[in-house]
Subunit: 128 residues, 2 copies
DNA sequence: GCTTGACCTGAACCACACTCCAGCTCGTAG
DNA sequence: CTACGAGCTGGAGTGTGGTTCAGGTCAAGC
């Protein structure tokens, strides 16, 4: 498939796909008359990259992973360790977000209370 | 307290504190001989800003919140809505991260399996 | 053969959130 | 009173992760 199709399937812009190729995240595909022709596996790889990105991994780290992957089986253990590290980071981040959510809930409840008090005051004023 | 102390207490660099003041996130404190003198409440406000930031809120949105806060009670409902919106975003983000964590776990299990197979192959080769 | 739309390249540009710098002033300990 | 560390200002610089642009080339349909 051509880059337009891949862009459509992955949700990444054509520019971003070429950018990812330039920085080494995506293997340079075959070319026909200068145009990139991707094989369907590219979609799965890019989806995985998207997931790594969603975990907050930097493009640089993703590049390191991609490089090891290209080197084959010998790097398998290293790659696993990378993923385990990232997994730990994700769990940490989830914890942090949970704490923030609790704080927000507390603040929101506070605002509700304040608003209730104001309404009450308004009502009293009205009845007076 | 002076800016160095505040920096220490909040974990934000002195430059960042001045930057936050410049963009309107922190009220300009009193000055004595040109130097900023903060009152202890500043720490609590900055901690709250840090929490908002940790949820992924942009400095721009935080500025909007700070502005409304400065305007007083009339903006209370708006501020509550902002926090509620952010709360929803946080929950969404947590869901996304959970999905990523599951994917990583799957990939990691996969690597373990591959490594086990390789070890087995090595053992067989050794025994032969 | 010509038009049209997708694709190509390298390089410049962008927003965000800081971070650093030169060159100055302040204040306090010795 | 002097040294020196902390703080001041305005503005320039940085890193990340793309995005846009100018100026072309390619190929498929009419």
């Amino acid at each position: 498939m051509k880059i337009g199709k891949l862009s459509e399937l992955t949700g990444l812009s054509i520019d971003t796909l070429r950018y990812y190729e330039k920085i080494g995240l995506i293997d340079p595909p075959f070319r026909k008359g200068g145009q990139r022709l991707y094989d369907p596996d590219a979609v799965r790889w890019i989806d995985f990259l998207k997931a790594l990105k969603a975990t907050g991994m930097s493009l640089d780290d993703m590049k390191r992973y991609a490089l090891m992957r290209a080197k084959g089986n010998a790097t398998s253990a290293n790659r696993r360790v990378m993923l385990e590290t990232q997994h730990a980071l994700v769990l940490e981040r989830i914890e942090e977000l949970n704490a923030c959510a609790v704080l927000l809930e507390y603040k929101i409840a506070n605002y509700h209370e304040i608003e209730a008090r104001h309404e009450l005051a308004d009502k009293k004023r009205y009845l007076r």
